[in-house]
Symmetry: D4
Subunit: 160 residues, 8 copies
């Protein structure tokens, strides 16, 4: 079955990126996790980007902070859809740096960017991508969304 790779630029990004891993597992999707730094391990990134689509991976989720080049570079190397998670790192300028360096990719090399620290949504988006050709996964997403709805309805009881 399809597998999703969740990679990040530094182990310090793991607390944020764990949300992607958790939701994918909850949706019964295989996950491969790795630390791949664009700036400190460029060869590893190169190898990962070049070969991911030949190693059973269908979607790549890449998280990084600051001048975040990992998602865009992997998107440059791979034909797979790449989802970018801007991480608000410690010396970030309020997160603007990671958002803009992931989002504003030039024509030809898209990165599917989610919200700042939005790793959970990256996981759901990866599932939706798999669900686009897999009815079971799409059904799991429909069920998941019903659950969101129910929680909101519950939370609104006894308000008036």
């Amino acid at each position: 079955m399809s597998k999703v790779a969740v990679i990040m630029g530094s182990k310090s990004d793991l607390p944020v990126m764990q949300d992607a891993i958790d939701i994918l597992k909850a949706l019964n999707i295989d996950v491969y996790v790795d630390i791949v730094s664009a700036h400190r391990t460029p060869e590893k990134m190169f190898d990962f980007g070049m070969h991911a689509h030949t190693r059973g991976i269908s979607v790549i989720i890449a998280g990084a902070g600051g001048a975040a080049h990992l998602p865009g570079m992997v998107a440059s190397l791979s034909p797979l859809p790449v989802i970018g998670v801007p991480v608000k790192s410690s010396n970030s300028i309020d997160g603007w740096d990671s958002v803009l360096s992931i989002l504003q990719m030039p024509g030809g090399v898209p990165v599917a960017t989610v919200a700042l620290n939005g790793a959970k949504n990256a996981g759901i988006l990866a599932a939706q991508i798999i669900g686009a050709s897999n009815q079971n996964v799409q059904d799991a997403i429909i069920t998941y969304k019903e659950g969101l709805k129910t929680k909101v309805i519950e939370s609104s009881k006894d308000l008036n």
Copy 2:
């Protein structure tokens, strides 16, 4: 075969969104185009979002400017992956409004956001999503990327 819907909030967004349509056609992917305004035709948007996945559509591309609610609302209504294109409309505050109102979706409801006016990348991303489970489309993307490479190599001749 999979079909991609390209919708936009106003016909004035068409010059920007045409790039998505063109690249999808160049990649031999079926496209459905429509004007669906979150704020002026909410019922049409509702109907579209609720039923797109039952009408042969695999991926939705939604473009909008200003307080751009169309991509997020369609993402709320559909289990399909939704790609959002922030359009820099005339009274936009430098595009920040459309970028942030598409990107910063709450947990549970992702929108795959591309660059400001990045409709071409939205089209490529949609193709990559289809290519994740369709070898022919993935091969077309690999060929497309080779073409990008060749153009850059050509452009650098005779520089020194």
Copy 3:
């Protein structure tokens, strides 16, 4: 008599939105409170927006954070004046996302936006709207403003 609806995208917005409820009650105006999420309960939002004006509601206050679509979508569905409260939620980019996605509505569908976390002012504005055709409520506002004045005058005593 006129009633004001105070809705919000998530129960986590209630600590901010409570200020609107409190000031409306202090001004003797009926309040209806509900959790209505644009992204997780779109059908409920649709039903609320379509019918609020036929259920005795005169003004709607809607609070939401991040890519905040609730105020604008309700404004799209209802002929009533809608007041939007940008809530500074946890993963917000300093509040800019909620401010811009509420404020920058396209021509035809206004949202009366107040300051970031400005739920108290949303309540006062709703009262002013009712007071525009109700002398008692307008008098209550005049009295309230006199109170503000008195407090400032008091606070400036003994300064020199």
Copy 4:
């Protein structure tokens, strides 16, 4: 019947503010227009703000650019609902100055802020405020919104 005042800080704001006047006239609402500068005619502003509610005015629309103090100061002086239109003037810093100096009012003194240069929406909002207690005006708004819908539907024909 209710009358709406449309005031602005400078005659150079008139091309923007005319949209408010036009839509109000189209909705058969009486309009009073004046130039009232917070910084150059403070006494006139004071007189206007103190007495507008005793001169048959129900809603005030105030437009200004740069460090835009007119909407907030009139809101401080009047018990009426005040709608603020941030105008993007020539030396504005991309409109941020007028947006923030109108929107971010302190607790107790709301301004109903609309989008940058959003005078048309200010006019519609004023009509909605009057319509909150006037069925004819509310019906006119419902009809107006139907017209918006029809235009979008028309514009989407012949696209595929």
Copy 5:
């Protein structure tokens, strides 16, 4: 002798504004302190602005946060030089709102703006203004600046 007025929109601004009072007293300049709210006590502000120059005041320092209208409105009412201190208040959008609503005054009505929370510099600037025509005060400023220099020189000892 010349007197400097230090006014502020709310008593909650006093911890910031105290720096202006302290440095002025240290430079032996008379200070008048008051709470004057543009939005809650407009009449008091009007009276203060119209008459300050006839009551022995030479320079006005005005501090305010959020949509900060006090410095600009006092500048509109008085022929005296007005120094504006943007205060970073609790619901401020990172201070941008107070900075821009004080700084970006229209042609004809300047406010001498200092840094965010820069009340100390406002006090020094007021002293420099008085010192422009008063040799004793100018000499006190020269001495003060020598003191700054000495402290830096001291702090750099023993570094290598």
Copy 6:
């Protein structure tokens, strides 16, 4: 009598800075004009800053764009009040660079900052500073402000 120095970092700033010169001449105040670049003529700047107060100058107006260091450096060198004009130069990032590098001076060394390209207001502020100890100049300012008022009143005729 008091003299105002108007200096700027480059002759290309003169079209903006001319407004300061013009209004000062209109108010019968002596003006000294010079090009003094912090980055290209640091010695000249040093000499100017150290000696201006001994050469009959009472107030310094300094305009510069981009990383604008001229106003702050002159303020560091001189005991006189220094007014800074942020100039929106060609490669400026929307003027934010010049605004922030002039405004955000550290404690001890104020610059009286005016609006982006606000040279006219710099001239008026310089006149107000002189007027703080010179009744004739203060009267000229009062007359000037009356003129502003009259123009607004004139412009509002025939509007209704």
Copy 7:
């Protein structure tokens, strides 16, 4: 002798980057020019970055726009000093994207960032770096700076 490489992500960056080439040639420094796209020719970039220091190059200048990854990726691959030039490309968000994605590099991998479109300064900085160990080049820089000074002095004649 030392050689400076001037690379850029796209031939459309050449009009901006030409300033670096010109000033380096004027200072008699050898220049190597190439188009190297991080996203479209990642292998070429990899090869360039890995080997530049073994091919007689001492300093690398890299210009790119939008999500500008070229300077940072080359800095990751090379032990040489890398100067980054943020280019304001057509769909850039006012240049913020290129500035932040070049400037905000993580610890360990610096990029020497210059101003938006500041290719001329990149050239001068490269010369200064070479001049740090080459007296002739340092002397040429001293002479160049004297020339800047002379031009400013000339431009200030006949102003008063």
Copy 8:
């Protein structure tokens, strides 16, 4: 051998700037440390900038916060390469002020700007500059970068 000067505007910048000193010492490069304030000790800054290149210094690292003029002014005075470190000081507007007032230097006077609080990268960049003409230092940098790589590889073990 070459020496690097690390200067900063205030002793309060030392905790940030210490990272530059530490990495330079770890790379066996001589360091000279001093407090030099552009605004409080302009003569000392002048003397330092004019003579650093004649006192055995090859590269200058200058850190400052707020309206940060030290790096640019030293760059104006010295023919040496100057690296600027924007320090996020206490009253900074999120660091934007120091970033922009260091980065946006005018043509002719570059500052090699690193990330907000990026003193460690400033130290590495200084070493790279020395390494451009010193094989031992370049080798030390290559070794340092290998160390970064190893740490990332280590950190990614046991993840799956």
